[in-house]
Point group: C2
């Protein structure tokens, strides 16, 4: 990459473009735009970003109980005595943020770090599933809410977990499926509409 | 931002998301995705990016002749005795890269660092225009190719430069305008089609 640009761009700029282009969803054009932005922006902003990257790699680990990202171990949620015994199983740390934001849930979490997807070569052994089984045996939660995505890998993971957890006698649930709030009927796909119909409630 | 996410996300992760979201074109969702990618990726890759950002701020300056980015001053292009006396005026350093890649040009450059845009509050005094005038007087180039964009700010800048440079007697040119190579007539706008028609060549 660097040699191709020849003398037209300073070597550190070419290096920065190459590093930025390694990020997911960032192509060479966006990488160039970001690199020149960082070159123009204040030293404080650029150094702030660099330091934030280094700090994340230094200080953040995964909680050994729920595998959410944390600075302390166990994490603040696992260590909170005010949380009830339910476990909400999610695919990614960001899902925890989204559910916490609803204010509707006061239980704990378990982050799988992905979903079962044979197409992408992700089997159960690559996820934090064994850890969930062990946790279920020791913590004896009143309910396990499998809040994986409603796409194919998420559904496959939910089915797999349901089968695996049935012998333990714990109640395993999935979130309600139907029309999103504010959603327009016209734009809903058949699957969603069908589920909204099947799961209809009496007013 | 950080407080809103509460305990659900480690503080350094929240900080990194905030820093990434300052970048142009990166919204909060993309920033989150990038932050968790950097958390998961190898230490080498993350540190490589952080160091590349710091290196750019430390080592890269602007050439005091052409205002392209450079590690040495004057830059490699300005210092190259094999370059002819033409000056190609562009808006951004990346434009130099693009033109160099064509292999069609062996002159020098002048980077304005933007284009005149009253809407965005960018007047001539915010660009390297005064420096171009002085350079024209001392270097006496055989031609100045105003290779600013073909949008409104680029055209306004070209018109402004043309008026300003006329007294010096130097030949001022603009790149040819018309259909892009490989372009489909059907998808071209009227302006482009009109220019392609007006500038037609005898075969």
């Amino acid at each position: 990459m660097v040699s191709q640009r020849g003398v037209a761009v300073a070597r550190p700029v070419a290096r920065l473009i190459d590093e930025l282009a390694k990020l997911p969803g960032i192509g060479p054009k966006t990488a160039s735009r970001l690199a020149f932005y960082l070159l123009r922006t204040s030293r404080d902003d650029a150094v702030g970003l660099a330091e934030a990257i280094l700090e994340v790699k230094e200080k953040v680990t995964l909680c050994t109980v729920c595998f959410n990202t944390t600075e302390q171990n166990p994490c603040a949620i696992c260590a909170d005595p005010g949380r009830d015994s339910r476990i909400c199983v999610v695919e990614e740390p960001l899902d925890v943020v989204a559910i916490e934001r609803t204010g509707e849930y006061r239980g704990k979490y378990h982050v799988l770090h992905g979903a079962i997807s044979p197409v992408e070569g992700i089997g159960p052994e690559k996820l934090k599933i064994q850890e969930l089984i062990e946790r279920t045996q020791s913590e004896r939660p009143e309910e396990i809410i499998v809040f994986t995505n409603l796409d194919l890998p998420g559904e496959a993971t939910a089915t797999y977990l349901h089968r695996l957890l049935t012998p333990s006698g714990v109640r395993v649930t999935r979130p309600a499926s139907g029309l999103p709030v504010g959603g327009d009927l016209e734009y809903a796909d058949e699957m969603t509409l069908g589920r909204a119909m099947a799961g209809r409630r009496v007013l």
